[in-house]
């Protein structure tokens, strides 16, 4: 390729990426913009990219006069617990699927795949029927159980693929060095799977953080609502409080962002380099 052609190619490539980023981030920008627009300007200024006067009044209202802090706390509890439990279960299950041959393995994998094939809406009513006599509707525990059940299969496959990428020789070497299989798993294999664990944690956390359907169906009182359900409370019979809703939305983004900031160094780390001939 000639030089001008190559430059043109690079520009087109970067341009396409830029276009995509703008497309993907614009809703977030709009969220922020609306959240700082005072109510009196919201409908009067048309579609300006930034309001002529910005204020944090919606944020103050959301934090001080709404149930939002409680929704937020509930969401942190539910998402955190779900991510934690799912990651532990998926690590163990993924390791077993990756390393052991056992009777019924094929059917277990098939069944786990099967659970991923149903539209969730179909399952809401039966799940409600199951949880209700157990007293698990309208409770954060019930929500965590449902989220764990729905996230474990995918997380298991995810973890399995990470374990598959770690040479078997490593734990065999550890076992010959004097470790039990569990110790080899926890001291040698797990530290190498940190990027995978981080990815799984992040994936499950965000999935639970933004889940609406089950939260809406299983939870009826404001005291145990999670944040996506809480957002709906800004929609009343007569009006929608866009400013407050967007302010709540921006606040809800913070933990997810912090979470990814925290795990991103594991996500990009190629820890297995140098383990074996490479």
């Amino acid at each position: 390729m000639t030089r001008p052609k190559r430059i043109a190619g690079t520009i087109a490539h970067r341009g396409a990426i830029l276009l995509y980023i703008i497309f993907a981030l614009f809703p977030l920008y709009w969220l922020l913009k609306v959240s700082v627009t005072p109510n009196d300007l919201l409908y009067s200024e048309g579609v300006l990219l930034w309001p002529s006067r910005a204020s944090i009044e919606h944020y103050l209202f959301v934090l001080e006069h709404s149930d939002f802090p409680r929704f937020f706390r509930n969401s942190v509890i539910v998402s955190g617990a779900t991510a934690f439990i799912v990651t532990i279960l998926a690590s163990c299950a993924g390791y077993a699927l990756s390393r052991f041959a056992f009777r019924g393995k094929y059917w277990i994998v098939a069944l786990m795949l099967l659970t991923q094939m149903f539209p969730l809406v179909m399952l809401v009513a039966p799940i409600f029927k199951m949880l209700s006599p157990l007293g698990l509707t309208n409770s954060l525990t019930g929500l965590v159980i449902v989220y764990v059940a729905f996230n474990v299969p995918f997380a298991t496959f995810l973890m399995q693929s990470f374990f598959d990428g770690i040479p078997k020789d490593l734990e065999e070497a550890a076992m010959i060095d004097g470790a039990t299989r569990f110790r080899a798993f926890s001291q040698i294999i797990l530290p190498l799977t940190l990027p995978g664990i981080a990815a799984t944690l992040g994936f499950v956390f965000t999935a639970a953080w933004s889940e609406l359907l089950f939260a809406l169906m299983l939870i009826s009182s404001a005291g145990v609502s999670t944040f996506p359900v809480g957002l709906l409370s800004f929609v009343s019979k007569f009006s929608v409080d866009f400013g407050q809703m967007m302010a709540a939305g921006v606040l809800a983004l913070i933990p997810a962002c912090l979470f990814f900031l925290f795990i991103q160094r594991y996500l990009v780390q190629g820890l297995t380099a140098g383990a074996v001939k490479g």
Binding site: I176, D177, A275, V276, K277
Partner: protein, 356 residues
């Protein structure tokens, strides 16, 4: 240090048998090399000794103690893997001390053990590095260091040099041999490289298709291969093989084209038995045409520096002859070769077993 006894070991993966009854006694302090082509079962056998594979039938004893049902960690053996299998998140020192830390060895003893191993292997300057910052040869040394720090009953090596380049391999081969001489530890070494087997072993176990073909000292296997497989596998360039027929009257071997090679002793075989004749390239004297012997046309000349490998065609078969002389034999020349009876290896063409 310990002896290792293997009795009637069989292994099958589902319906596929990989080892068909292996019996082997390894003495205390001996260096035994399991050699054979890929898929012959040598690595499986090694992994069974290590405890990484279940034993389908048979028994393995280390120092007289049955270990069939012992976990790898309770067998007190060390293993060097082909891939080195260093723990990537640990430094060289941590890699080497891991086994001792698992055994809750006192800190001072760990320190002295790893510094002793490090100086033996020339790793002193690298103790704080991670495996990824090491070259292939250094990783190989760390893997060996990890094995020697805890003075196990036996060392198992699973093709430890096959990931290294030729020069480094030769160097490490020497180091392994020296290490064995200084430690005197019982060692089992798996390789598909017959040069490694020849140079390292006290005894070689040649395996093929899950069956032990021959056990003996390197020179035993070289000088008196028990069958066609061992004859063809040990030695480089490989032994020449060609077919002939036994003639009891004489006694002699008749090869294609009517040549008769007289034998010094009669074989225990019927007249007309099909024979496969083997002769090593360095045992075929090459002379100028007309000096007597079998005239042969030179098809290919391969100088190796040390000498020359001539591909010659005295009759139907092409033979390789190795000569130290550097005279300018060229392709197309005719030379005279001899096939001295004392250097011939005679095998039954049907069974492949040695006759002479």
């Amino acid at each position: 240090m310990a002896s290792i006894d293997i009795a009637g070991i069989r292994k099958a993966y589902g319906p596929v048998p990989v080892l068909h009854g292996i019996d082997l006694s390894i003495h205390d302090g001996e260096f035994v090399v399991l050699v054979g082509p890929s898929g012959c079962g040598k690595t499986t056998l090694l992994r069974m000794i290590a405890g990484l594979e279940d034993i389908s039938t048979g028994e393995i004893r280390i120092d007289g103690r049955r270990v069939n049902d012992l976990e790898p960690k309770d067998r007190d053996i060390a293993m060097v893997f082909q891939s080195y299998a260093l723990y990537p998140h640990m430094t060289v020192a941590e890699n080497m001390s891991y086994s001792l830390r698992l055994r809750r060895t006192a800190r001072e003893r760990i320190a002295s053990a790893i510094s002793g191993a490090a100086s033996k292997l020339g790793l002193d300057a690298l103790m704080a590095r991670r495996p990824r910052a090491l070259s292939g040869g250094q990783r190989q040394r760390v893997a060996m260091g990890r094995a020697i720090v805890r003075a196990p009953k036996a060392f198992l090596f699973d093709e430890p040099l096959s990931n290294l380049d030729a020069r480094l391999r030769e160097q490490m081969r020497g180091e392994i041999k020296k290490l064995h001489q200084s430690l005197g530890a019982t060692s089992i070494y798996v390789t598909h490289d017959q040069i490694e087997a020849m140079t390292l072993a006290d005894r070689i176990v040649a395996m093929n298709s899950g069956v032990v073909q021959q056990v003996g000292s390197p020179l035993d296997l070289y000088d008196r291969p028990a069958n066609l497989f061992v004859a063809g596998f040990i030695g480089s360039p490989a032994m020449n093989m060609f077919d002939g027929t036994y003639r009891a009257g004489g006694p002699a071997i008749e090869v294609e084209g009517g040549y008769r090679i007289p034998l010094r002793r009669a074989l225990q075989a019927a007249d007309g038995t099909g024979i496969t004749i083997g002769i090593r390239p360095e045992h075929i004297p090459v002379g100028a045409a007309g000096e007597g012997g079998i005239p042969a046309k030179v098809e290919l000349v391969e100088p190796t520096g040390l000498g020359t490998i001539l591909h010659v065609r005295p009759f139907g078969a092409t033979l390789k002859a190795f000569t130290l002389s550097r005279d300018a034999t060229a392709v197309g020349d005719t030379v005279a070769i001899r096939l001295p009876a004392e250097w011939l290896h005679l095998f039954d063409a049907q069974s492949g077993q040695r006759l002479s």
